[in-house]
């Protein structure tokens, strides 16, 4: 009887602590996002003028949003920059998916000379930080006339693709090879098998790669800034927001409500996209748990 009672108390204690930790972490997780959302409607032009009631506003102030959509910087506007970002990020996502799946498939299924060395090489090469190599990449790409969107897409793609290729490899490992053998007996070529069977069954990896590739390009500042800074019409959303809100020079007080509004406009759609495809992405990550123990 005492044993049962003790067990019950322990259970209540365990669940109580669990809920307390979860609730604290929920508040910590939401707070900065709630804060920026409120600031975007506060109409506070600088951080100093943002009073505490700014994060609990009584009425919504749309000045910042109006300004952001009407601003025109030498022919560039926020909507144009957002469109540029979408083109850049979308192309990076598509290219990343194709590369990751081809490489993942080859790692998983094909018999290739020196595969182990090749895989280790591919893995280790990503250790080189590209923010520190911005200069050599810039000079090298300039020689090939690639200081443009194509150059940026080329620079963004491999990081995501390699990471995703290793996850793709694990997912493809879990697809029975017999599916493909049967399809190949039915007369499909290896490439058709790849498109029709592997692509479809590895859909979680496709979603994960697409989102990682998309957000990598959508959120890059360093490279986009050095490649595009001279042409305001080609700016990406983030470069434009940086300029509009005066964030380039931290010493001058940034236009804080503009930054907040831009953060909401750029942040919410991507967050929604991630949340919508989240179930798929978790399935891709669980392939990582299938690492041979």
């Amino acid at each position: 009887m005492i044993q049962v009672k003790k067990h019950k108390i322990l259970k209540i204690l365990r669940l109580g602590i669990s809920y307390a930790v979860l609730i604290i972490m929920v508040i910590v997780s939401i707070f900065p996002l709630y804060y920026i959302f409120m600031v975007s409607f506060s109409g506070a032009p600088t951080l100093v003028s943002l009073i505490s009631s700014g994060i609990l506003p009584k009425h919504l102030n749309f000045t910042a949003y109006k300004y952001i959509f009407q601003a025109n910087i030498y022919g560039g506007s926020f909507l144009l920059w957002l469109r540029n970002s979408l083109i850049l990020a979308g192309s990076t996502a598509i290219l990343s998916v194709i590369l990751a799946l081809i490489t993942g498939y080859a790692l998983s299924r094909l018999d290739i000379p020196a595969k182990k060395i090749l895989a280790t090489f591919i893995y280790i090469v990503t250790f080189f930080p590209y923010t520190a190599t911005a200069v050599p990449i810039y000079l090298l790409f300039a020689k090939f006339h690639l200081i443009n969107y194509i150059g940026l897409i080329l620079a963004y793609t491999p990081g995501t693709s390699i990471y995703a290729a290793f996850i793709a490899k694990l997912s493809i490992d879990s697809i029975p090879a017999s599916y493909e053998e049967i399809a190949m007996i039915d007369g499909l070529s290896r490439f058709q098998v790849f498109l029709r069977i592997v692509m479809r069954l590895a859909l979680p990896v496709v979603a994960l790669t697409a989102i990682l590739g998309f957000s990598g390009a959508y959120l890059d500042f360093a490279l986009a800034y050095s490649f595009l800074v001279t042409n305001t019409k080609a700016w990406t959303g983030l470069v434009g927001l940086y300029y509009l809100a005066g964030l380039v020079n931290q010493a001058s007080a940034p236009a804080y409500d503009l930054f907040a509004a831009g953060a909401v406009i750029m942040g919410i759609p991507l967050t929604a996209l991630v949340l919508v495809s989240f179930r798929m992405m978790t399935r891709a990550y669980s392939a990582m748990a299938g690492v041979k123990q």
Binding site: I55, T103, A106, V125, F127, F128, P129, D220, G267, T271
Partner: protein
């Protein structure tokens, strides 16, 4: 059959070509620049100067300071966000916990929201003394204010807490997925044997996740070592150079001081470090075996 093997290599061709173009050639180029005096003073006509840049770094260039900072940054982040994510995954993995999916959906928000923008938000939150953290939140809990522009300790606290906020969901997701792949029966059998929670954790949970933890830890170590935006945006390496890491310092040498040669030398040193460390770890833990 032999012809097939060679043909199969073509599947690797696209990634290999793009890697050579984006990683290998810039690396060689960077190595070459590091032996010259390429910079704002010698922009169009630069000469070979041998090991001069490396001599500057090891003799006068804060090498040990930056190594220490890079290690504090990397290990400090790793040692906090991995346990935090792992702990939350364990909490969520309890079968009798209710509202799991709601907690889960909210806790992944910091990871789902674009990180670069989050960093800018945090930068504003921590500004001393006007930022909301210093003006409202910390006083609310009777905690001392944090001023990252004068105190090194404060700067590290700020950097690592923000990095924890950004990254804990990733570890929660990965470890939670991994935990769910452990067969429930193992725990049922342990229950029959009368094992307590701790025994179960150390004999079933931890051994089952060993490889996942190792793989994630190596990847994250390299990622954090190279992670440049948090420091660049939050403290800009300050106060002085006390939170400057190899990568941020190299970036600053290139873009603030236009000393491209010295920047290249710094990034070569940084990269050699990660590659050597990682090869040792990969050899020792065999984490890449499942991938090849």
């Amino acid at each position: 059959m032999k012809k097939d093997k060679v043909f199969n290599f073509f599947y690797f061709l696209p990634i290999v070509v793009i890697i050579i173009f984006v990683f290998v050639l810039p690396l060689i180029y960077d190595l070459y620049i590091s032996f010259t005096n390429f910079g704002s003073l010698h922009l169009f006509k630069y000469n070979y100067v041998g090991l001069l840049n490396y001599i500057i770094i090891f003799k006068y260039g804060y090498f040990l300071d930056l190594l220490k900072n890079t290690l504090i940054w990397t290990l400090g982040s790793l040692a906090t966000y991995m346990p935090l994510g792992f702990g939350l995954a364990l909490i969520l993995n309890q079968p009798d916990l209710k509202g799991k999916s709601i907690f889960y959906a909210i806790l992944i928000l910091p990871w789902a929201f674009p990180s670069f923008i989050s960093l800018l938000i945090w930068q504003g939150l921590w500004v001393y003394p006007y930022g909301i953290m210093n003006r409202l939140i910390l006083p609310m809990f009777h905690l001392p204010t944090v001023n990252s522009s004068t105190s090194t300790t404060d700067a590290w606290i700020e950097l690592i807490t923000v990095d924890d906020w950004l990254s804990f969901p990733y570890f929660m997701i990965v470890f939670y997925s991994a935990l769910q792949s452990i067969p429930r029966e193992l725990y049922d059998i342990a229950d029959l044997d009368g094992a307590n929670t701790f025994t179960k954790f150390f004999t079933i949970t931890l051994p089952s996740l060993k490889k996942t933890i190792a793989f994630v830890a190596v990847g994250t170590f390299v990622y954090t070592w190279n992670n440049f935006y948090p420091i660049y945006l939050l403290t800009d390496g300050g106060p002085g150079i006390s939170t400057e890491t190899f990568v941020t310092y190299s970036y600053q040498q290139a873009f603030s001081n236009s000393n491209f040669a010295l920047a290249a030398a710094w990034s070569i040193i940084s990269t050699l470090f990660v590659i050597i460390l990682s090869i040792i770890v990969i050899k020792y833990t065999h984490i890449l075996d499942s991938f090849t």
